[in-house]
Symmetry: C2
Amino acid sequence: MDNKIKVGIVGYGNVGKGVELAVGQNSDMILSAILTRRDPEKIVPKSSSTKVLHIDKAKDLIGSLDVVVLCGGSATDLVEQGPHFAQYFNIVDSFDTHAKIPGYFDAINNAASRNKNIAIISTGWDPGLFSLLRVVQNSCVPNGKTYTFWGPGISQGHSDAIRRIKGVKDARQYTVPVDSALNKVRSGLNPDLSTRDKHTRQCYVVLEDDTAKERSRVESEIKNMPNYFAEYNTIVNFISKEELLAKHSKMPHGGFVLTSGESGAGSKHLMEFSLKLESNPEFTGNVLAAYTRAAYRLRKEGVVGAQTVFDIAPKYLSPKSSEELRKSML
Amino acid sequence: MDNKIKVGIVGYGNVGKGVELAVGQNSDMILSAILTRRDPEKIVPKSSSTKVLHIDKAKDLIGSLDVVVLCGGSATDLVEQGPHFAQYFNIVDSFDTHAKIPGYFDAINNAASRNKNIAIISTGWDPGLFSLLRVVQNSCVPNGKTYTFWGPGISQGHSDAIRRIKGVKDARQYTVPVDSALNKVRSGLNPDLSTRDKHTRQCYVVLEDDTAKERSRVESEIKNMPNYFAEYNTIVNFISKEELLAKHSKMPHGGFVLTSGESGAGSKHLMEFSLKLESNPEFTGNVLAAYTRAAYRLRKEGVVGAQTVFDIAPKYLSPKSSEELRKSML
């Protein structure tokens, strides 16, 4: 146990619980601490060796955690917590507000470098594994075009947007890749596709008062909501609360990264990476755990400062030694 | 031009020509030299700035090439050339004799380290990109099973084996993944599959003397050939020389790397990477070019010795800067 990687998590929502499960699947790691804004007494961790502390007590753990995984949301939690925790711990996160990544990287890099910590940001699957594949695929088909499709999967943001409409009791929104667009890419046509060309939006809505009039009003409000739905092919289904709970209470997701192009002699090449996930936060937890191992190992090698998936050689993700990897996986 | 990566290639067969085409697609590289065992006068490179020299003159180029890509076969060429050239140049190769990789790695590492060169071995797509994905996927689904399927594509070794049969004028053998096996993996059943369960062997054969009797004899010889065909579902088609040339003279290949497993809470996760290549050697050339860039950059950072795809962070493959990658690809 003493030579296991001692992991802490900050935030015990879906992703935090995913990391807890993931650490349990990796025998070289142990979840030493959960830091939460909630009442620590109310959290029962899966392992008796996991301490639960209020987030304000984080500094008590300096020196006793190898890596801290930040599991809060990007919009409000990570922008604060990232630069703060990077001062005191090696950290890993899944910061995913795309436009803010360069600024976040700089803030984290500054805090981590000054304090000789390593911080691997924006891991998970997108950003994360999908980013990794975009770079690898793009580099191997230099004149190619790279496409990312998301889904089929629940979009939390779009589900929330529907739930904010008056008269809506509950709702789930699935982002679904458009098969015909996917197949155009696979056939090597290299089409120009916007995000809306690539995805349809499937909505499952429970109304407070399920009447024809209400259905008509809510459907129209959804379909005309700018940015979220107006520009998309949107399908609205009204269902009962029971059906929603029975059929739509999981958090599946996934997607595709495709690169299509030609060699210098005109031979067509297609590279495709896809994920089909029954639980988005549990898979995200697994990816965070793999990059936690990388953070631990790289810090041992003296690496400090902010890093992304682009900076991490594959060997650091695996519990196997380089010799084992060359022998069994090359 | 002075700040371009000066590339040399050793061997001007299919892969060497693929690297030449690939270098032409990467504006930060230039093909400075082709080294060949053939008569250099008989080779006309695509660019007038490429010198063609006999391989015995390689030492004349010491100091004038940034990276040399070894494009010979693994069985006889690379085992000799790798450790030899690693003494004088930074090298990249696609050594693919699986069982010999550990010994080859050590020999190369010894030669390269002593002479402060970098040597990235066993790149290409398998070993190479498929290896990379096996490690990444395995690390992100720690309790999962990882499967590699090859094809549909031409197997040179199996085509040669058929051509050695008496009475065979010419032949091509396609390795074809078994759809039902692929779908079993995709459905999360985690079946136990041997190489033969995963692949069928499609043979196209031209006979010297196309009679019913000859067809029967040759078909039987193919289907009963141990190691190559006897253990597989093998389909033999007899065709004319004209049809073979018209329909089977390209070198397509590809395959799939799938990892399927469950999270700690039992949610199923499937990761899949696939390649569909119209030209195996041209795509291999593209991958070698991307790792050539990595070799050049890593050597500039002071890295020496033998490396594999497991040791190379994705950023080194791309011509973009880290800032650009974070901004546009993360």
